[in-house]
Point group: C2
Chain length 228, copies 2
């Protein structure tokens, strides 16, 4: 066993102080970041919110960015995975699965016990140009939502539940945009009923959306707009 | 003439230093706020960006909040009014006007010479809970977009260009959500072509959207989602 391996074992064995509850601290850090954004939240805010000692937070997460990354993972596990599970239900039609996904988002984005909107969308929008690395990570997460929707549509297309020429990539982008709009409106004070109205509108045109073909969605000439 | 009136005249007559170009300073302040958000932008950042002296900025705008409010007004005049003008063109059908409005937004949100996305949507999302007053002002502005779209649809409905039972309030909310989603995606690195794909998808289902009736959009039971 090398010196490095021994050091690693010792470090592992030493463990963290028993009184530190990592998940509970992460939940509180997540809420701070969600409510105030990455940059407006300081390490001392996080120390206060989590009730942990500063050295404990540094030992566990390295720095504010490390704590933020862990909070993002916590959010994904606690909330984003739920949406994915709703899409994965094989007993639902495509339309039912999409509706369940969006109704759950409408409910979660306006849940009074949580900050409004989607954590990833809110925090990403709040990042200034100076937090390039964190912005990059959030961009990937963001695309994860669109990718989750595209993967779902593709899997149902493979099963023959959507026509072979349904424009699944464009639909996923459109659905992700609707989800982001709902998050912005929730942050702006929209109620669950407001968001449910958007979902109802979406679902009312859903049969037409899935019947679009990729050709139909070629960008149109923008001549009229440019004339103005 | 009272002492107060004389003082007011003298103050007015004195004017501001000739070298201070209010609009140009506002344009630079607007870009700072747009790129970095309200809270992450300090008065010293604004002094540097505008090239004005700090006392000049304080005399002209009072404080950071005053400068921000003036920057919001500047944005509305420079950009938001353009969208309103596209909707107001009487030579366009409802669908053409909506498409012009959204294509112009896709173009502006991804204009390389400006920060990405809509200034109002980006800045509003970036506000922490501590800037309550500014948040309140932005909320009103935000609703202005939805209200602009609703006023447009209502005016065309009054002309008989939309059926009398078309759910204009719901449509305005849905369109505002789409616009907000486009702004979030632009901020996330979407290209004009990406946003144009969303606009094409929207326009492809537009004939079905305007044919919805208010009754059809009553919230559906969410039983399936809750079971999950």
């Amino acid at each position: 066993m090398s010196t490095e391996q021994i050091a690693a074992c010792l470090k592992k064995g030493r463990g963290r102080p028993k009184q530190f509850d990592r998940d509970s601290a992460l939940d509180k850090a997540l809420e701070m970041f969600w409510r105030h954004g990455y940059e407006a939240t300081s390490m001392s805010d996080l120390v206060e919110a989590t009730g942990a000692k500063a050295p404990t937070l540094y030992a566990e997460f390295g720095n504010k960015e490390g704590l933020f990354r862990a909070a993002v993972e916590r959010y994904v596990i606690k909330f984003a995975e739920k949406g994915k599970a709703l899409l994965a239900r094989p007993d639902c039609t495509v339309a039912e699965a999409v509706e369940n996904f969006f109704r759950a988002a409408a409910s979660m984005f306006t849940d009074k016990s949580l900050p409004s909107g989607c954590f990833i969308i809110c925090t990403s929008a709040a990042l200034s140009a100076s937090s390039e690395e964190v912005a990059q990570m959030l961009k990937c997460r963001h695309h994860l939502q669109e990718n989750t929707l595209r993967d779902f549509l593709q899997s149902r297309q493979a099963l023959g539940e959507l026509s072979a020429d349904a424009p699944v990539a464009a639909l996923a982008k459109y659905l992700a945009g609707t989800l982001q709009g709902m998050s912005v409106q929730a942050r702006d004070g929209a109620t669950q009923a407001d968001l449910d109205l958007i979902v109802s509108t979406l679902m009312a045109v859903w049969p037409h959306l899935v019947n679009l073909s990729a050709e139909r969605l070629q960008p149109l000439p923008v001549a009229v707009a440019e004339e103005a």
